[in-house]
Amino acid sequence: MAKTEFPKSIISRPVYGELEPRNGTSHLLIADGEGGQAILDVVAKADDGFLDRAHIIFIPKDTKEKYVSKLESLGAKQCYTGPSYEAAVSRIRRVLSDASNGLQIYLAGSEGVMGQAQREAMNVGYPFQSIQTEHRGSKARRMQCVHCKGITEDVITDPFVCSHCGLNLFVRDHYSRRLAAFQGVCIDAEDPGNVPDPVEIL
């Protein structure tokens, strides 16, 4: 699956590129789902020695076994497969906590996982502009309910129901890097009960 094209949007909406190997003292590659292929692709473009300094963190999600053995057999210095982002995040924090100058960060897959991993890196001082990202696979979004502040993961329709307070929310393109989430706002506040049929997010 190739990298994703998104419709033109507002300036706060993240844009994603295509992972390129960069010179670095070490390489941290984090991906979920179809992002596994993006890791395989960037490694294929890299020079000898890249993998000797690479740490791959992969969360298969729906892709299950599709990429796991391919990634494990690359021969990276460290390769971890985790059951969920929540399970992997303490490992990510630990790796970032002793990262030295020259660490290159590569993120691929869903917006939710890339956004959260980017936030971890920003929290230890990496400028977000220096972190490479490539979107692959699901267009599901991580949404913050502006009303109750609860986060609903993997939202694939607009509107959707907040998993915390139950309000019907429409999906905005306004995005917060600090929250690693898009904003959801009540759609039927001015006409309670008038909720359009959900459509798949583009």
Partner: protein, 347 residues
């Protein structure tokens, strides 16, 4: 000239109103019969004694009740006031700016005595008399930004300046035109303005940022912005939109003059001396259509502006559905006569 502070509410029974004196100084935002986004900055220097443009931080008859409303909002939702860890110095800059200016402009209401870092602040309208050590937050009941903005009308965005951009890294936001500090905190100038239609394409934000980055200490700037609000509701936050949105549907031809308010933001911009940040106060003034149209020039002009406003803007400002009813009401005040240039009602 003493100010008589009103006891009034901005929610529930909505007892807010403007006195005739307050209406005479209402910051009517339209200097001609049409409106489109513009940077429209001017120096924040005193204009016309008694106007809202005369002092650095305008204090008016609504002061005490607005501060009570702010305290209620913060009790319900403390996230309306946030400051990222690197922003405390900006908070002290802001506290100093407001205390010095208010004590200078309103000596009968506010007093500041400084002996080195030992400061004594008296706020008579709110009954506050505090001694504290400047730059030592443990000597204040709140952080410096929160402390002083609980005592100052208007929302406050405190901006950090770096990488040739401005970053919304702290704020006190309880009287906002439908944007969320909790969501936008940490964003840069272009990001937090991302949802605004048309203005990006016109290059407004690029020019505005260039202007703001160059604001110098002691040379603040100002501009006006506006929207429409049903009922004199200060807290038109997205957080509570699911509660107040329904109020937009309560307009009728009979009540529109009293219920529909023009909401004007006096936005000012001050350089902060120690942090080199910028503070961006957004002061909200509300007036109902009935009171505005008592000034014939304003009545004529408001009708024309609302009538000719591009649909995207009426939608973004949230009154597209009510526009026909508002226009029906305003049209009775527009006899087609010419209006004089400028915002002042009698000129």
């Amino acid at each position: 000239m003493g100010i008589e502070f009103k006891k009034e509410t901005f929610r529930g029974d909505y007892t807010f109103s403007n006195s005739p004196e307050a209406m005479k100084r209402f910051p009517f935002p339209f200097d001609k019969d049409s409106y489109m986004y513009a940077v429209n900055m001017e120096p924040h220097t005193p204009v016309r004694e008694g106007s809202v443009y005369y002092n650095s931080f305008d204090v008016d008859e609504h002061y005490v009740s607005e501060m009570a409303d702010r305290a209620m909002v913060l009790d319900e939702d403390p996230l309306r006031c946030q400051s990222l860890p690197h922003m405390e110095l900006h908070g002290w800059d802001l506290l100093e700016l407001i205390m010095v200016e208010k004590a200078k402009d309103y000596p009968d209401l506010f007093q500041l005595t400084r002996d080195g870092d030992k400061w004594h602040w008296v706020n008579k309208p709110l009954g506050i008399d505090d001694k504290f050590t400047f730059m030592d937050a443990s000597t204040l009941p709140y952080g410096p930004m929160e402390y002083i903005t609980r005592q100052t009308q208007g929302d406050f965005c405190v901006l950090d300046q770096r990488e040739d951009n401005l970053w919304m890294d702290a704020g006190m936001v309880t009287t906002q035109a439908d944007w969320s500090l909790d969501f936008d905190i940490g964003m840069n100038f272009f990001e937090w303005h991302a949802p605004v239609p048309l203005a990006h394409e016109k290059g407004i934000f690029v020019r505005a940022l260039k202007f703001l980055l160059n604001i110098q200490q002691g040379a603040p700037a100002r501009r006006l912005n506006w929207t429409m609000t049903v009922n004199p509701l200060l807290d038109t936050s997205p957080e509570n939109y699911h509660k107040w949105g329904i109020q937009k549907t309560t307009l009728t031809p009979e009540n529109v003059g009293k219920k529909q308010h023009l909401r004007v933001e006096l936005q000012t911009f001050f350089r902060l001396p120690r942090s080199n940040g910028l503070v961006f106060p957004i002061r909200c003034y509300l007036a109902c259509l009935e009171d505005i149209t008592k000034f014939p020039k304003w009545g004529r002009r408001l009708h024309r502006v609302i009538r000719d406003l591009p649909e995207e803007l009426a939608t973004y400002k949230g009154f597209i559905d009510n526009r026909p009813m508002i226009l029906e009401y305003l049209s009775q005040f527009d006899d087609g006569a010419e209006t004089s240039p400028g915002v002042w009602p009698e000129d």
